[in-house]
Structure formats: C-alpha cells, structure tokens
C-alpha cells in the first residue's frame, strides 16, 4: 500500500505556482518568494523584493508571461518604512490563474521607487495615488499630478501616513450627535 503510494506520487508535475517561484529564484537569488495557501485552498505567491531588484523583477514577470495582468498597487505605512505591494495575475488562460504579490519596503527618510509604467501602463494610476497618499515618490513617472485629493489640499500632508505627516486632529470634522452638541462641543 505504502509502496504503491510513492509510485503514484513520484511523477508529480510541479504546479504553475512552483514553476513561477522556481523561475524567480533562479533569476533573482536575493528575492524571497514563498507559496501560501489560504483556508479555501487558494494558493498565492508572496514575493518580497529589495528596491534595486524591484524593476528588473517586474520586467522579468512580463517576460515570463507577456499577458501578465497588473491588478492593483497597495501602499502602506509600517512605521519606520513605507510599503508598496503589487498584485499580479499570470498564466490565466487556464483556471486557476497564478496570483502573485510583490512587496517592496523603502525607508521613510528616502522614499523613492523606480516607476514601472513603461512595463505595466496601468501601474501609473496606482503610483499617482501612492504619491499623494503616503508620499512615496516614483522616479521617472511620466505623470505626477494628484489623482484623488482636491486642489486645495495642503502640500506635504499625506492622508494615509500614521506619523506627523498624516492628517492632524484639527482636520478631522465630525457633524456631531445632538446629545453632545447640546452640552457644547461635538467631541466626546
């Protein structure tokens, strides 16, 4: 019984995720890549990359699958560093597609990243959002205008920052509860 099991399992094909991780690791030895599985059995590749390897890695992913789809770019404030995470979908001709997340962290005193809108044109929209929301600058982005914030929003204030560059107490408005308003002041 045991022997039969090993015979069946031996010619196991590597899954699409494993192939992608293998390809990334052979090209970029310094990149951390792992496959995580959630409770529904969906596999995702999490890639943690340094700032120097970020753009070459993105170009390599495009090379790996010219149909690669850039879904979303997410910015985050980690206290001492700023994070930027890109979600990509590769090899989606046959279900299930490979879901891949690329995470870069940059220090707050030098928040710059290379722009990748020449590889994935839609990335520019997310980069514009990141630039106004956490103040992470994308070098060489062709369009650095604001995307969501209004014209009269003060310069140098980034709404999604958790430190002193974020929005201050005075900027937060509350329409107030009638019980609290009657006792003067809307703030509890």
């Amino acid at each position: 019984m045991d022997e039969a099991h090993t015979v069946i399992e031996a010619p196991k094909e590597p899954t699409k995720e494993e192939k992608v991780v293998e390809a990334i690791k052979s090209r970029f030895p310094n990149v951390e890549a792992e496959i995580r599985e959630n409770k529904l059995g969906r596999k995702r590749i999490w890639v943690r990359v340094s700032r120097e390897d970020y753009k070459p890695l993105m170009a390599f992913l495009m090379e790996l699958d010219p149909q690669a789809h850039y879904s979303i770019g997410i910015e985050q404030d980690f206290g001492d560093s700023l994070g930027f995470m890109s979600h990509l979908t590769l090899f989606y001709e046959d279900d299930p597609a490979v879901s891949l997340l690329v995470e870069v962290k940059v220090p707050k005193d030098d928040p710059t990243l290379p722009d990748i809108s020449d590889i994935f044109p839609i990335a520019l929209q997310f980069e514009r959002e990141v630039m106004e929301m956490v103040g992470l600058d994308f070098e060489g982005a062709p369009d650095k205008r604001r995307l969501f914030l209004p014209e009269d929003f003060p310069e140098g204030i980034y709404p999604l920052r958790l430190d002193e560059k974020g929005i201050s107490e005075e900027m937060v408005k509350n329409a107030g509860h009638p019980y609290l308003l009657r006792r003067g002041g809307g703030k509890p």
Partner: protein, 141 residues
Amino acid sequence: MRLSPLIPTVLRNLAKKPATNLFPKVEPVPVPENFRGRLIYDVDKCVGCRMCVTVCPAGVFVYLPEVRKVTLWTGRCVFCSQCVDVCPTNALKMSDEFLLASYDKYDEKFIWFKEEEIEELKKKLEEQKKAKEAAKKAENK
C-alpha cells in the same frame, strides 16, 4: 425607413391597466418580513453593556455612564440592524416604519431617551441610592 421592433409591444401595452401604486391615495407596497425600519429602543430593558456603541458603524449611540444607558439619534442610522443582533437583552428592535421624512434632523422621532428622561432617571437613581443608604443606617443602628 424601418419601423421600430418595439411598436407591437407598445400597442399591446396600451390596452393594459397601469401597473403602478398610487401611493398617497392608497396604502404603500407592504413591507416584507424582517423589514429593517425605524429603530426602537426600550430604556427599561437596557443594561448599559455598550455593545451597540462598539458595533454601530454610523455613530448613533452615545453612552451615558451616570445612568448606564445609551441615548440614540437615529437621524444617522443606516438600518444595518447590527445593534439589534448584538443586544443581549433585546432592548433594541427594528420596526416596520419607513415613512420617516422630516423638516428637522433633530426631530423628536429620531431621538430616543431624551434629555428630560435622562434627568428624570438620574433623579430617580439618586433617590433610590439615598433610600438604600438610609435603610443601611437604620439597619446598623
């Protein structure tokens, strides 16, 4: 010129009765079961556990520590019914009322447990406390 393919349907519909509800003249369309209408608060059942304050996404509740109750302003309510689900004593429930238009956002019907009621309850609680103390003193003597 080609005639529109809709013409036969339009002609057929011209002969039919209108399928509308003439609202102010007749009753509105009946609400389904478990309809989430105006929030109703039962002050006597409330034990002041603050679960509704935690769960409310719209800031309807203000906790009153002196009387251990909450005061509500449903002008902000989004009818999500989370407070009803979480309330351990069923002091909150959803009614079938949905005609809630008003000229004043601080209208009587949007506020549960008003200032006067709070003051009244405070007085009552104080009296109870005094009575208790008096009873204790009497016991000790």
